[in-house]
């Protein structure tokens, strides 16, 4: 299986894989954007207790959280074109990447809707009442008062979802999408240096995860500025988690 381990190959593979980082990041960004829209739409009926629709939302969330993302990928990739054929729409020309983004969007949408629900529940009820008292409509109260506060509260959860999404994108290669993991497969096949490829790939994923985590930590501290007691609490706790290995941060910055 493969050839002798050669350290040099790791260094050689990293730039080659980095060429495809943009595709990975494109999948992450597009699917998270889609997931935010889907998540909000799915969360609303359950927050406002709209009959029937809230049941559908609950089933949607349960399904996408209750099945592996790999199955969802294959289900949508093979199933959606057939469903569309029933509506006499030809989906055979749609690129695979679109299916992948749609799947990850729907998948993270389910998790994001739960995060939104929890965060909105965490905003004090008095805030909405105060908004109504100064004459805001329900829509205004939600978008201008509740949502910004909920966003700050849910940021740590959201950060985890984005990082999980990044790691999940490694499965897109099973449908033949040329992102980093897909590239690593071809590199491994052509050079027969599988271990070196996967070490290089793991390092890239690791560094990207670390950078994302740092960015979200900074964003969180900024967004919680108006609540210093909360900001101090979360950042201290999470900084402590980050402190255990200072050399990581150096590694992250160098890359």
């Amino acid at each position: 299986m493969g050839r002798r381990f050669e350290f040099g190959y790791i260094l050689e593979f990293i730039p080659k894989l980095l060429d495809y980082l943009q595709i990975t990041l494109l999948i992450v960004a597009a699917s998270i954007a889609l997931g935010l829209i889907v998540g909000l739409i799915v969360a609303l009926p359950r927050m406002y207790h709209i009959p029937v629709l809230k049941r559908i939302s609950a089933v949607y969330v349960s399904f996408f959280r209750g099945t592996p993302v790999l199955i969802q990928l294959f289900l949508i990739y093979y199933g959606l074109p057939e469903l569309l054929k029933g509506l006499s729409i030809d989906a055979s020309k749609v690129p695979v990447l679109a299916f992948v983004i749609l799947t990850y969007g729907l998948h993270s949408g389910a998790f994001i809707s739960e995060a939104i629900r929890a965060a909105v529940g965490a905003v004090d009820r008095g805030q909405v009442e105060a908004a109504y008292a100064i004459g805001m409509s329900g829509f205004e109260a939600f978008t201008r008062i509740v949502l910004p506060q909920a966003a700050a509260v849910s940021l740590p959860v959201f950060a985890n979802l984005v990082i999980a999404n990044l790691k999940d994108t490694s499965l897109a290669f099973t449908l033949g999408v040329m992102e980093m993991t897909g590239k690593s497969q071809t590199l491994g096949m052509t050079t027969q240096h599988f271990i070196e490829v996967y070490i290089a790939l793991s390092l890239i994923y690791f560094v990207v995860s670390m950078i994302l985590e740092r960015l979200f930590l900074l964003a969180e501290r900024r967004m919680l500025k108006y609540q210093p007691e909360l900001a101090g609490h979360t950042s201290k706790k999470r900084l402590l988690q980050g402190l255990f290995l200072p050399q990581f941060k150096k590694g992250g910055e160098q890359a």
């Binding site: 790999l70 199955i71 255990f244």
Partner: protein, 236 residues
């Protein structure tokens, strides 16, 4: 090609033959992960010199990389390592005699260990220090106090997280198909390609995973109710 509802049932029945493999992979990796996770968590809580940093590195690295990478690194790396060691000592043992499933189990245990280490650590840290002190006060040794006082309470606290990890590993076990271990997803692929009915097969697989997930959630909810009886407060 039309959707064939009857075939969903046919596929579902066929997939059941691969269910034990999925459950086996999940159970072993979570079981081994609990052992690894407990050790890692204790190393970090007791701040054991050097080892605590290694433990922290392990947790951060595994949580920062996809589960697929752990599988590939173990699957491609470990055989090479075994053969190199075996060759250096002149043993006749070859990595090719190790079944693929063993590499899958090792890789997934490593993954589960890192995630469970965080679950266990937060569970233990959530237990009041007074509990441990009270255990010492009545003359218990540290292992005794941990095992009999701290762990049961930490278990109750971290039950929701444990359930999430278990479900995560169940869903993650689908990755085993990439190295040709035949669990539910691999079986679904086989059923799909041999019958040329992709959609139906994957619907069946999705339903099966969904069902197991709901069962786990239900079971954990029941367990949680039972286990938290001691913690309900009040006088009676």
């Amino acid at each position: 090609m039309k959707i064939d509802p009857v075939f969903i049932w046919t596929a579902f029945v066929k997939l059941l033959s691969a269910l034990p493999m999925t459950l086996f992979i999940t159970a072993i990796s979570v079981g081994a992960g609990l052992v690894i996770g407990s050790i890692i968590a204790l190393l970090r809580i007791y701040k054991v010199p050097v080892l605590q940093h290694l433990a922290a590195f392990y947790v951060t690295f595994i949580r920062g990389t996809p589960m697929l990478m752990h599988l590939f690194l173990v699957y491609f790396g470990l055989p090479a390592l075994i053969d190199a060691v075996s060759g250096a000592f002149g043993w006749t043992f070859k990595s090719s005699s190790v079944p693929i499933l063993v590499f899958v189990l090792i890789a997934f245990s490593i993954t589960a260990g890192a995630y469970l280490a965080e679950v266990i650590r937060s569970g233990i840290l959530a237990i009041d220090k007074g509990q441990l002190e009270a255990a010492y006060a009545i003359g218990m040794k540290t292992p005794q106090a941990l095992w009999r006082i701290v762990f049961p309470q930490a278990f109750a606290v971290s039950l929701p997280n444990l359930s999430n990890s278990l479900i995560g590993m169940l869903h993650g076990s689908t990755l085993a198909f990439t190295v040709t271990a035949v669990e539910i997803f691999a079986e679904a692929n086989i059923v799909a390609t041999t019958n040329w009915k992709y959609f139906e097969s994957f619907i069946a697989a999705a339903l099966l995973y969904w069902g197991i997930t709901l069962l786990i959630e239900k079971a954990v909810a029941v367990l949680e109710k039972r286990i938290n009886v001691y913690n309900r407060g009040g006088v009676a």
